[in-house]
Amino acid sequence: MSNNRLFLFFFLFLVLSCNSYQKPAESHLPENLDEASKMKYTQYLIQGKILYNTYCTHCHQNSGEGFRELYPALIGSSTLMDSMSPAACLIKYGTKGSKKDSNLNINMPAQPELSNLEIAEILTYISNSWGNQSGFISVSKVATSLVDCATH
């Protein structure tokens, strides 16, 4: 009995530890990465997915498809792919923090409580999932992007 239980725990542990290195199925991971970068990249994708499901999925939907014209799709989004800076600013400060005339759209809420790391994880996930392929977004890239949000 106790042997069985031990085996079960061991099995669960194995399954769980496998999972933690499994990137989300909808995400893309470049092949020519060394083991360390691959692990970091994967962690960002996993963590980014969790954060995405908490903060973004209500509007942008589970697979980044958006809804009607109310909530823009993230799949193939030029705002997201062309340069990461406006996207980082949008996540942190919402549309109210942007200079762009947003009268024609509804406001995107600010999420000031998100850290640079969390924003980097979200950006890495959304710009490398559902067919998007923009590569790894680092914390320092987010930090630089957030410096001059008011000019976007």
Binding site: H58, F67, L70, I106, P109
Partner: protein
């Protein structure tokens, strides 16, 4: 032993039969009925007044006045939302849009979304919201108006929570309920507008209610 099995089998058959009947039941009339005493020909009699949606007057996304008369001879689905709602409203809009598409061609069915943030959700903002959603009146009315009037009709007529609350996401606390209202202005169903299966049920109930008027 065998007999026992047969008995149990019969019981299940009976239960199954009940289930069969249940799919055809009439929708309940929700809300508290009021009992008033009045004098008729010098005799005190008791009269029951069913719960009905009170008279209302709001402004829709096209600046037109929308009242209870606008929904005369229609059954309608009502909800409470606000544009800058970060939590449940996007899902509510998505689910209400399903109802919109399903009954687009049926002029006996209307939709009525009240904003609970009228200071921000002006007529222009609601018009913009409807445009981005790709819907139009009179099928789907987005209405704004006097804040207290909206909260009051929400609580007393539709029996849902709608109020300001600085601790809630977006600054308002409100229910995600969809209310099904019949042609007699009675509440016939309450559904969670954030759950697809509940909205499936709502759409079935709309058809059921519609067919009750055809008989």
């Amino acid at each position: 032993m065998m007999r026992r099995h047969i008995e149990i089998g019969c019981l299940f058959l009976l239960l199954g039969a009940c289930q069969e009947i249940k799919t055809n039941f009439e929708l309940p009339i929700l809300g508290r009925t009021e009992i008033v005493t009045k004098e008729v020909n010098g005799i005190l009699t008791k009269d029951t007044i069913p719960h009905r949606i009170a008279d209302f007057s709001f402004i829709n996304q096209d600046s037109a006045v929308i009242t209870n008369v606008s929904f005369k001879d229609k059954i309608y689905v009502a909800d409470f939302f606000f544009i800058n709602c970060p939590s449940i409203c996007p899902e509510m809009s998505k689910q209400m849009y399903r109802v919109y598409e399903e009954f687009l061609e049926n002029e006996n069915v209307g939709l009525l979304s009240h904003t609970i943030d009228p200071s921000y959700d002006t007529v222009a903002a609601l018009a913009n919201y409807a445009r981005l959603l790709g819907v139009s009146s009179p099928k789907w009315e987005f209405v704004t108006g006097d804040k207290d009037q909206i909260y009051d009709i929400g609580e007393t007529s539709y029996m849902v929570v709608a109020n300001e609350d600085e601790n809630a996401p977006g600054g308002f606390i409100h229910s995600g309920a969809f209310l099904l209202i019949d042609k007699e202005r009675q509440v016939r169903g309450v559904y969670d507008g954030t759950i697809a299966s509940q909205v499936d049920l709502l759409m079935k109930d709309i058809n059921r209610l519609l067919s009750s008027y055809e008989q």
